[in-house]
């Protein structure tokens, strides 16, 4: 039982991270039907900007006096930076191709992904970058079960961001404009919604969430490296598809399922099969329900 609960905690942590990244894929797809393969790189860039900022604060000595404030500032600045980066990427690589075939934009996305990850490698080096100090190490021990403070923080932050996003999309005017653009770009522009603005905003929000996931991964695993965006990117994409691409709640659910299946597959069967199980679940769900778990009312709620 202890073993099960410990693995459950591990699974929720990993699943939460996948969910945060998956949201970016699903939101962008919802609005312009593009699978933004460069999204994993926003996540990696977030991890790097985070380590740079935190090292800077540590160097100034603020990290010892105001740890929470420094962390909050790092999160805010990193998310802002990656949001700008994503808007720039969209303007350079996707906007000129918006009237071309979808394949052209897809290839452009792949190219952007390679460009960004190699850019990180050339500017930041091939070695792992360690996050400074012992931030929020340790945890609570309940018998044989260990819940790390970082795990709690990741789950807490994830829930906070997901709630915030839900409110933004479903309760605000901007959210309404986003949903309107997702449904019908021409119609929404007739009621004076600037689709360019909304598309930029969608990219910015998705990349901001991925950047938050990047810092959390850096804190949790203790280091970042330039190619860290690739594998989580693929997994999060799978999570978005599993949940029904274009659907926000679906992406969250998909992320949690992929994370759990991976951890339980590795825990109860063998570590080498964890990816196999994650993708078996994906294939079998798509076989019976090609739109994904939540992908039914695709036209109403997608963003």
């Amino acid at each position: 039982m202890e073993f099960f609960i410990q693995q459950l905690i591990n699974g929720i942590t990993l699943g939460g991270l996948y969910a945060l990244i998956a949201l970016g894929y699903t939101m962008v797809y919802g609005v312009i039907q593009l699978i933004n393969f460069a999204h994993g790189e926003f996540f990696a860039t977030g991890g790097y900007v985070g380590v740079i900022l935190l090292s800077f604060f540590t160097g100034l000595g603020y990290m010892d006096t105001h740890p929470i404030l420094c962390l909050a500032a790092s999160f805010a600045l990193t998310m802002g930076y990656c949001a700008f980066l994503a808007v720039g990427v969209e303007k350079i690589a996707y906007k000129p191709l918006r009237r071309q075939s979808r394949l052209a934009a897809l290839l452009s996305a792949l190219g952007m992904s390679i460009f960004l990850s190699n850019g990180l490698m050339l500017t930041q080096g091939v070695y792992d970058k360690a996050y400074p100090g012992e931030l929020f190490q340790g945890g609570v021990n309940l018998g044989n079960i260990t819940i790390g403070y970082l795990q709690m923080m990741i789950v807490g932050m994830t829930i906070f961001l997901l709630f915030g996003l839900n409110i933004l999309v479903f309760k605000t005017k901007i959210g309404m404009a986003m949903r309107a653009t997702a449904q019908d770009k021409v119609m929404s522009s007739l009621v004076s919604i600037s689709s360019n603005r909304i598309i930029s905003l969608t990219f910015a929000i998705g990349a901001g969430l991925a950047a938050a996931a990047g810092i959390m991964v850096g804190l949790y695993y203790g280091s970042v490296r330039y190619d860290m965006g690739f594998l989580p990117g693929i997994k999060a994409f799978a999570a978005a598809v599993l949940g029904g691409i274009g659907n926000i709640t679906g992406a969250m659910l998909g992320g949690l399922i992929i994370g759990m299946v991976e951890i339980f597959g590795a825990g109860y069967i063998s570590g080498q099969y964890k990816d196999v199980f994650a993708f078996i679940i994906l294939i079998s769900v798509l076989y019976f329900k090609p739109t994904g778990i939540m992908g039914e009312n695709i036209d109403d709620t997608r963003v």
Binding site: E2, F3, V126, D128, A130, T146, L231, A266, Q272, K274
Partner: protein, 378 residues
């Protein structure tokens, strides 16, 4: 008209390198193969830097008679067998005299067969799998040790020094890491150490929570991790500590990287690993350190072996005064000198012997701890 002029100018510029190429005198070309991108880019870059250091030393000592300069063509294998073969073909087309590399055994093995077709000598600084030299290729040399020497040394260390009764083994399924893990598993069984479980993870994973939770529940005396590169190793050690795993971590030569401690921090303390013994007090090592460290940073796993490999190759070309592979080989077989990493003397199959000892991480440094012959080192 302007357009034509422009085209003529471009064509003219394109020809320049060829004219320059024929005008300058002879360049000695050597190749290196190692992963310069991908997950093992750091170790691969160390290898390239080691070779560059050797070239620098030779050029400062007056170069090689008959050549104006020595040029390195560093190829990226990405630890991918297909790319390694492509890199080997490229080096053949560039007409290199010899090759230092590759890093991953799974790259070295196919690439060496391609190079063997043209009789180009290949000296690997880092591939420890037995098959590298066991296939009887005439121009294959190895500077590092062999897995079938490392595995028994590790098992003996577990039994004699750590008094282990049970061990939990994890590898990440490369030719090197899985081969070594299998070897350790076999050697442990022979010595009467129980292998509780032998699990695998995937290359590129960052999250090892599931496997580590399993290992914690198994509660073996030893947690042996055989991973390709320091990066997953540091993450695994860090996560193991966080989960509160009490098994002693023992690992292998791929972790011999200062970055391992930098990333794993406290979790690296007290970790044991087996690695070829390098005497860091020799004059050879000190002079290498003096050139390498200011230019490329701390000396990591395979920079010294790569330096020695390039030195062997260049020295053989220099003394034989020829680029003929048979003559180079004859010179290499005659060599017997103190390199930076170890004493260099090749056996008939191309191996140069193993010298595995156990190191312990103490205060962020690798400290020699135990040797199979002498027991505890102090």
């Amino acid at each position: 008209m302007r357009k034509k002029l422009f085209v003529a100018l471009v064509l003219g510029l394109m020809v320049v390198p060829f004219i320059m190429g024929t005008a300058t005198a002879k360049t000695l070309k050597i190749g290196s193969m190692s992963p310069l991108t991908g997950p093992y880019a750091s170790d691969g870059t160390d290898i390239k830097n080691g070779v560059l250091t050797a070239i620098q030393v030779f050029e400062e000592a007056g170069g090689i008679p008959g050549y104006d300069k020595i040029e390195l063509f560093a190829q990226d294998t990405a630890c991918d067998p297909k790319q390694a073969v492509a890199a080997a073909n490229k080096l053949i087309n560039l007409e290199v005299v010899g090759v230092v590399g590759a890093y991953c055994s799974s790259s070295t093995i196919p690439a060496s067969e391609t190079l063997a077709e043209e009789d180009i000598p290949m000296l690997t600084p880092a591939s420890t799998n037995e098959k590298v030299t066991d296939r009887g290729l005439p121009y294959m040399f190895r500077l590092c040790g062999r897995d079938d020497d490392q595995a028994p040394a590790a098992a003996k260390f577990l039994k004699d020094s750590l008094k282990a009764k049970t061990v939990f083994i994890v590898d990440d399924k490369t030719t090197y890491s899985q081969g070594l893990a299998d070897g350790v598993s076999k050697a442990c069984k022979e010595l009467g150490i129980e292998v509780v479980e032998h699990d695998h993870v995937n290359q590129g994973d960052k999250d090892f929570a599931a496997v580590l939770t399993k290992a914690k529940a198994a509660n073996a005396d030893i947690f042996y991790m055989s991973l390709q590169g320091y990066s997953p190793g540091a993450l695994m050690a860090l996560q193991a500590k966080r989960l509160g795993m009490t098994s002693q971590i023992v690992t292998q030569d791929a972790m011999f990287q200062p970055k391992f401690m930098e990333v794993a921090k406290d979790a690296a303390e007290g970790v044991y690993l087996t690695y070829g013994f390098t005497d860091t007090t020799t004059p050879e090592y000190k002079s290498f350190e003096k050139i390498y460290v200011p230019k490329y940073g701390p000396i990591a796993a395979y920079a010294t072996y790569a330096y020695d490999a390039a030195t062997v190759l260049l020295q053989a070309i220099k003394t034989s005064g020829s680029t003929d592979p048979a003559k180079i080989k004859a010179e290499i077989m005659k060599m017997d000198f103190d390199g930076v990493a170890k004493r260099i003397k090749f056996k008939a199959n191309g191996d140069s012997g193993s010298s595995y000892i156990a190191f312990k991480v103490v205060k962020g440094e690798f400290v020699p701890y135990w040797s199979p012959e002498k027991g505890l080192l102090k």
